[in-house]
């Protein structure tokens, strides 16, 4: 009888196995091209626990195909595969169909699969340890299990006895994880080397710049790491590894992640179990979903050392060999790591991206002020490193975006003197990095002691923007801009006067003003422990009249 059951169960598995299944357990060679998280800012760090970037994984696999139609199942693909992006090439026949099955093997899925079918129930005596096994048919589940046995109808786990279900086999359409499979058809048995490529989530990369400022402050040694991370549970051993810089568009479309993994949860409900003593004994609480138990045992512990940026504080100069090679990829930049490397599961990896020595930079104190806007108190000027991405300045190569840390040697000791970020910078472009504020240089802007003409408020409430907020801003009159220097050496400060409305004018300036990108620029030289001032007349923009 049991044998017959087994035979019938094989039949049950059969419909899914109508075609021979060829299992490809692992790739022989793999290539990983990592793309940056499109939503992460230039200076933002990668969150190793949730990587927002992705990768194009290209795997080479060899399979032995039988003649006729067959199904190739791919195992060991990245867990965060985007199934709809899978491409299979190199098969002798065509691929009429690709499938991604998300029915997972779980206690609940077993109950569902065997609903209405024969299982065994095993009861163990607590007194003697003797087990009794009976045949039973599952009548309901997974929310409360009712069985039909030879004796009648019973409910599982309502008895207070240790009892469990025993299944005769695993249904063929349940797998331990979502599985990608393709159908193909071959004229004769053949060994095929095929290429499987797909996009997968939970990857990320970025450039991390380290700049060492020379003692004279006129040049930097610039080094960049290519930092890449894999948050998948799969390692890619000896992978040809690339990273792509530039903006790559992604769209979010429903269904791209594939049908949601299905693993029904069991909740063993019983009949009302109240007793006279009411609190003394309760039917054991229903076990939680299996995932919960797994979670308790596997708390994710990320040590501080893992999160901390590994190289920001390390001493430099850094020398690295075997750095990434740059290649054009259409309008993007591709960085190729020359030797195959292992991109391990849940790990971060760094290789040299570029290294340039003695890059001339201008270290500039810069202030940004809006013309005609009074300041309540002096503001710190910012510090900007400026250079041009050209060969004459020992650069002249694409700079992919990423955070930058600047170190300076002060009294024989490495000091972090600023942090900023480089935006994607093409060759020839001016590179400007805001690295911090300069504590010794302040700017202040005041309206001079002149007659205060009341601003015309004809339709007062119609323009409730910040113009009205501060009554003494944007008034016409003579403004005084003062730069103070508390450092013991003379500094040059670039003061940018910008206008919200370009029809507003700055007139009769007491110093020479240059124009750059539609704003006024005053290059102030401030003596050591001294001040410099600029006075100008501000003419506000004419008011736009409402037309009706």
């Amino acid at each position: 009888m049991v044998r017959l059951v087994a035979a019938l169960l094989l039949c049950l598995a059969a419909p899914a196995l109508a075609q021979p299944v060829v299992v490809s357990p692992a790739p022989e060679a793999v290539s990983v091209t990592v793309y940056r998280d499109p939503n992460r800012s230039t200076w933002g760090e990668m969150d190793l626990k949730w990587l927002g970037g992705y990768a194009l994984v290209t795997e080479t696999r060899t399979v032995d195909l039988p003649a006729g139609p067959s199904v190739i199942r791919f195992e060991g693909v990245a867990g965060n595969i985007l199934p709809v992006s899978a491409i299979v090439s190199g098969l002798p026949g065509r691929v009429p169909e690709k499938n991604y099955d998300a029915r997972l093997l779980s206690p609940g899925a077993l109950v569902e699969a065997f609903l209405g079918r024969q299982v065994h129930i095993r009861r163990t005596s607590r007194a003697t340890g003797k087990t009794v096994e009976m045949e039973a048919i599952l009548r309901s589940g997974p929310d409360g299990i009712v069985l039909t046995t030879a004796e009648g109808v019973e409910a599982l786990r309502c008895t207070g006895l240790p009892e469990s279900l025993v299944y005769p086999g695993v249904p063929a359409d349940l797998s331990d994880r979502p599985t990608l499979a393709v159908q193909t058809e071959t004229a004769a048995p053949a060994r095929a080397t095929l290429r499987l490529s797909y996009l997968a989530g939970q990857f990320d990369w970025q450039a991390n710049y380290v700049a060492q400022l020379a003692p004279d402050g006129r040049t930097v040694d610039l080094f960049a790491w290519l930092t890449l991370a894999n948050g998948n549970d799969e390692s890619f051993a000896a992978a040809r590894t690339q990273a792509v810089a530039g903006t790559v568009d992604r769209v979010e479309a429903e269904g791209d992640e594939g049908a949601e993994p299905v693993s029904p949860q069991i909740s063993l409900q019983c009949w009302p179990a109240g007793t006279t003593s009411d609190t003394a004994y309760m039917v054991p609480p229903p076990p939680g979903p299996p995932g919960e138990y797994a979670m308790y045992g596997a708390d994710i512990v990320v040590t501080g050392a893992r999160i901390r940026h590994p190289n920001l504080m390390s001493s430099i100069p850094i020398t690295s060999i075997g750095g990434a090679e740059l290649e054009e990829l259409g309008d993007l930049k591709l960085y190729r790591i020359p030797d195959p490397v292992t991109v391990a599961a849940n790990s971060q990896k760094q290789v040299g991206l570029l290294s340039k020595t003695r890059v001339p930079v201008e270290r500039i104190n810069a202030a940004w002020l809006e013309a005609g806007r009074r300041l309540d108190e002096p503001e710190e000027a910012g510090v900007v490193l400026r250079t041009r991405n050209v060969a004459e300045r020992n650069l002249g190569l694409p700079l992919p975006m990423g955070p930058l840390a600047i170190f300076e040697e002060v009294g024989g000791r490495q000091m972090l003197t600023g942090q900023g970020a480089i935006a994607d910078s093409a060759v020839g472009q001016e590179v400007e990095i805001a690295v911090g504020a300069s504590p010794g240089v302040f700017v202040h802007q005041r309206l001079g002691p002149k007659k205060k003409k009341k601003k015309k408020t004809k339709k007062g409430e119609e323009k409730p923007d910040e113009d009205e907020e501060d009554d003494s801003s944007y008034l016409p009159g003579r403004y005084e801009l003062e730069v103070s220097n508390a450092t013991p050496h003379a500094v040059e400060v670039e003061v940018n006067l910008w206008r919200r409305d370009q029809r507003a004018l700055v007139r009769r300036a007491s110093r020479d003003l240059a124009m750059k990108n539609g704003r006024y620029v005053w290059r102030a030289r401030v003596p050591a422990n001294g001040r410099a001032t600029l006075a100008y007349t501000y003419v506000p923009a004419p008011e736009d009249e409402e037309e009706d």
Binding site: T128, G152, E254, G274
Partner: protein
Amino acid sequence: MRRFVFITFFAAVPALGQSSQGDVAITIYNNDLALVQDVRQIAIPAGRSRQEFADVSARIRAETVSFAAADTAIVEQNFDYDLLSPGKLMEKAVGQVVTIVRINPATGTEVREQAKVLATNGGVVLQIGTRIEVLRDDGLPVRVIFDKVPENLRARPTLSVTLESRRAGVRPARLTYLTPGLAWKSDYVALFDEGAGKIDVQGWITLTNSSGTSYTNADVVMVAGAPNDGNNYNNNYRSYRPPAASDLVRAGTESGGRPRLGDYYLYPLAQRTTIANAQTKQVSFLDVQGAGATKAYHFTVGWMQTIETPMSASTVLNFSNSKAGGLGTQLPAGTVRVYIRDARGAPQFIGESGIGHTPMGSEIAIRTGEAFDVKVKSAVTKREKITRDEWERTARYRITDSRDGTRIVEVETNPVFNRTTMTYTLTNARPTPAVVNLVQTGLDNAYHDTRIVEESMRGEQISLNDRRYRVTVPGNGETVVTATFDTRY
């Protein structure tokens, strides 16, 4: 006895693994809606009988079911969702006799008794002989054995039809219903060869099944369109909306060879297929080699937008789906993923974009990303108020309305005219020249009278709001364009 029971078991178990579905045909729409037609061979006795339908979609919209079989009339149609559970089993046993088996925890010996279930309110109260007890009041193990599964309690929601048949016999019965949980879209793989100006495109229909049921050996047709789904909440929920068709440059006017349903194109699958539950299935429907394609750069500057840090121009791929030189078919909505080969010949991903349902013969432009080396800066370099003559100061209108008849109204206006000069700096760090389609937008602003006073190269007014400059930027070079606009704002 034992032997007999086993035999009845096998009779009770439906042929293992066999779905009770018949000849299944499925029509899938874009808005998470599918029409399932299931023709089953059913033995219908003469007279009144009740037929149950297992293996219908777990998310069936029961109110849309229709049933048809020869020589029968429907008496009623039921959708029962009273589900079998231990609690329900005990509840339905109230007033009936069950067998309880007490197990001695020390020795394991069993004692059988007959008990009548009196109530199940909070706990189970039993009458055993003349005694009244609460089930498992002492916490000791007790098995409760019921005689049978009560009528109307089922493992799963079940659809049933009560029929009146004029004759007995096996005949095909057609069951049709609507269900959510079956959806489709398309996915395209485009391999672009910039040097040759060619594109290879593979199209896949992507089907997802979250309806809770597998469909065996089904005849599947996809409809490129979404029938109006009324106000049904279930349909609006989770529905797939095609991405905006903003990439359509020019809608096509050619008709494809595909079968149609009204205005919708149909995509039948070539052969029958099994759609398993929780499965994503992709079926090839398009494979075109060497269609023409070109790359272009686009950049749009907002009104009076100053861009200090150069911004990258968009990289746009242009191709057509016309019969001559294009993909030669209409394209159902979906995602286009674009690849190009790297220096070693391996395809690399360079970006993706959504397209809407695209009629054949259309010109399509999809943005894949931004060009690292082609950048644009812009600045308002001059802006001033300019004077105008008095001619616009006063206007007279004749207004007729039903109450007061005709009257004349004078409107005083004192429009402000501004003259704005924009400077655009385009840079190209690639060794080859790049042509950038630079668009200044925001030129209309509901006034319709913006004038172009001066421009360093001739622009093209593509709409009241937008003016386009086709700027050639030399390799490793820079081009500066200036334009001056008179506006009322």
